[in-house]
């Protein structure tokens, strides 16, 4: 055992040294550097220029936190941010619950029309978002009209419409992620629990749920991010006076790019990174 390790070490060292110096090795290194630069330089620039004192946010003229201060003073932007968070939280909770239950049913039962329903579940993932948005808009107009003819009260688009729309497109994504973790879940564990006297409810909460929780968290995280940065559907379905952050950012950018935009983008980045970190932490603890 010890012999084997020392052997691999002595072999591995000259090999890696040769790779570093050879042309192929250099090309490989350059490739990796470029790839990561491609991914992260724009984000780094965004973060850096959220602290520049240059009012157009394109040159480094000195450090300032002014833009963050202005941001928090901007009631319109803050309102949009709160709306976005509210929509994201509610639609994530709802779509995660519905999606998890759907995934459980699809994984567990064999029933007529299952294959067709399965295909229909995945379709929303590949449907172009603009089509989805137009469809949801048309549907809401139709539904509001119908409701108005029944109740007599005019109904306007509001945050609830956006939430419902976000739930609608998030469910498919949650189902996909949760089903992956269910595929790796050993059904015999449920039999073992039943064998030890656990009823269906106890088996779910003590065995199934904790073991597929990483998948559920993954699905929820995806739903949350999708809702947070959704632009097209939010633009189409939010009513007057209920603006959401991506739409508000777009409106501001159309006039001028200011470091304020960089600042709010940096904060959103921070939030999503914090969420990913949190979910990693939760999963590692297990």
């Amino acid at each position: 055992m010890i012999e084997a390790t020392s052997q691999t070490k002595t072999v591995a060292r000259p090999a890696s040294a040769r790779e570093r110096t050879s042309l192929g090795g250099l090309a490989l290194l350059a490739n990796a550097v470029l790839m990561y630069a491609f991914l992260y330089v724009p984000i780094a620039i965004l973060v850096i220029f959220s602290f520049t004192s240059d009012q157009f946010g394109v040159r480094w003229t000195g450090f300032t936190l002014d833009w963050y201060a202005r941001l928090f003073a901007n009631q319109r932007l803050m309102g949009a941010a709160l709306n976005t968070l509210y929509v994201a939280v509610i639609s994530t909770v709802a779509s995660t619950i519905i999606g998890t239950l759907t995934a459980l049913a699809m994984e567990r039962y064999r029933f007529r029309g299952r294959a067709g329903m399965d295909a229909l579940l995945y379709l929303p993932i590949v449907i172009p978002e603009i089509v989805m948005a137009v469809a949801l808009l048309a549907f809401s107009a139709f539904a509001f009209d119908l409701l108005q003819s029944i109740t007599g009260e005019p109904i306007r688009r509001n945050l609830t419409t956006v939430i419902i729309a976000h739930i609608a497109f998030s469910i498919s994504f949650v189902v996909v992620v949760v089903r992956t973790s269910l595929k790796n879940f050993d059904r015999r564990l449920e039999e073992a629990a039943a064998d030890l006297g656990a009823n269906g409810w106890q088996t779910f909460w003590r065995i199934t749920f904790p073991l597929i929780l990483p998948g559920i968290i993954g699905g929820a995280l995806l739903a949350f991010t999708l809702s947070l940065d959704d632009f097209i559907i939010s633009l189409f379905l939010s009513g007057p006076g209920t603006s959401l952050l991506p739409v508000e950012v777009y409106n501001k950018v159309r006039r001028a790019v200011t470091p304020e935009i960089n600042a709010i983008s940096t904060l959103m980045l921070l939030l999503s990174m914090a969420l990913v970190g949190l979910s990693q932490l939760v999963q590692r603890r297990r």
């Binding site: 039999e191 073992a192 064998d195």
Partner: protein, 381 residues
């Protein structure tokens, strides 16, 4: 024996008429396929009972029906006299040790073992001692805080045992629990399981496809094939008096010689092969003359006599030529060829230590294969 087990054993006897499990004409059909085909079995209290058969013979399905994971298509399953054919698994007084152990990976060993007690509503204060007692029983004291994946296969298997036994089941069901272990550990666990069963006195129903395992451990064995029970009996009954050709073939090794019955009387029958060789063997039932029959001779029950000893005219004596000799340590396994080109196997115990090649049979040697009628069996199915 711990006190709770003796109290339990007493209760058990009071409850039943001596049968821990009874299957009455049980059928399990999956579509057109009969996984279990009209099986009736009585498994006695405190018995180590094995369901033995090749894969797909219905032994695991039978076990799963006793556990409650499958419900019979028809027939009845009685557990200590109570009809439980359609009772869900969590309400049955039996526990299972799964082939893959099915330990809960997100729980510690202790939590795994305590799970059944918690589900029963055992008071928190009583959990600890009972879990410790169960871990002690399977010699895993001190492993309570570990996760299943930190244990070896043999240790996981013992956790699975403790997790089941801690609930004082009326019957313990074991689904090929030793299948994943290596040969040496397997042998150790066989003896350990048997010892444990004798200590706790709980009825064990053990599913296996390994005939040697079944013979080593069981009080009684049911041999299954194609959904049917072919024979139920003690290991010696199954091995020495197989009821049919399949059982004789599946349990251990044997030589078959086909022929027709020419005589049958007093517990013996004589068959004649197509080329006129007559062989006599035991027969449980009188057989009608002319019926097709097979003589079964275990390779360790024949003797090879050196040339000059015995005579070809003796009963069940066949002149043969040694064809192949395999030395396997404890035994020498010899394949001999009959005059009619048929081959038979004979095993000789190497009861003398020598490296002299001449002490063993050599290919090409002439010999007389002798098999006393009491060591042979005439089978008709």
């Amino acid at each position: 024996m711990p006190l709770w087990l003796s109290v339990y054993a007493f209760q058990e006897i009071a409850l039943s008429d001596g049968n821990a499990i009874e299957l009455r004409d049980v059928v399990k059909a999956f579509g057109d396929v009969y996984a279990v085909d009209h099986v009736s079995l009585q498994i006695r209290d405190g018995e180590f009972f094995s369901l033995l058969g090749p894969s797909g013979c219905g032994k695991t399905t039978s076990l799963r029906m006793i556990a409650g994971f499958e419900y019979p298509t028809s027939g009845e399953i009685m557990i200590h006299g109570r009809e439980m054919s359609s009772t869900p698994p969590h309400l049955r007084p039996v526990n299972t040790v799964f082939q893959s152990y099915a330990l809960f990976p997100h729980m510690s060993v202790e939590q795994n073992v305590a799970f059944g007690l918690e589900m029963k509503g055992v008071a928190k204060a009583d959990l600890g001692p009972r879990v410790q007692e169960a871990l002690e029983m399977v010699r895993l004291t001190g492993y309570g805080a570990r996760r299943p994946r930190q244990l070896s296969g043999g240790q996981q298997q013992r956790v699975a045992l403790a997790r089941a036994l801690v609930n004082h089941p009326e019957v313990l069901l074991l689904d090929e629990p030793l299948g994943a272990l290596d040969q040496k550990l397997r042998k150790e666990m066989q003896l350990e399981l048997k010892g444990l069963q004798e200590r706790v006195g709980i009825t064990f129903i053990f599913v296996t496809h390994d005939q040697e395992e079944a013979l080593t451990m069981s009080d009684r064995i049911a041999v299954m094939s194609h959904g049917k029970v072919l024979q139920v009996g003690t290991p010696t009954e199954i091995y020495e008096r197989p009821s049919c050709r399949f059982v004789a073939d599946f349990i251990g090794e044997t030589n078959f010689v086909e022929g027709k019955v020419v005589e049958s009387a007093g517990g013996y029958a004589t068959i004649e092969t197509a080329d006129g060789i007559r062989l006599r063997g035991c027969s449980a039932r009188p057989l009608s003359s002319g019926a097709a029959a097979t003589l079964s001779i275990r390779p360790e029950k024949v003797r090879l006599l050196p040339q000059g000893e015995g005579s070809a005219g003796d009963e069940n004596a066949l002149p043969v030529r040694v064809e192949r000799v395999n030395y396997i340590g404890s035994d020498t396994r010899i394949t001999v060829r009959l005059s009619d080109q048929r081959t038979l196997n004979a095993w000789e115990q190497n009861d003398r230590s020598t490296v002299d090649r001449n002490a063993y049979w050599q290919p090409g040697e002439e010999s007389l294969l002798v098999c006393p009628a009491d060591n042979a069996l005439v089978l008709t199915e």
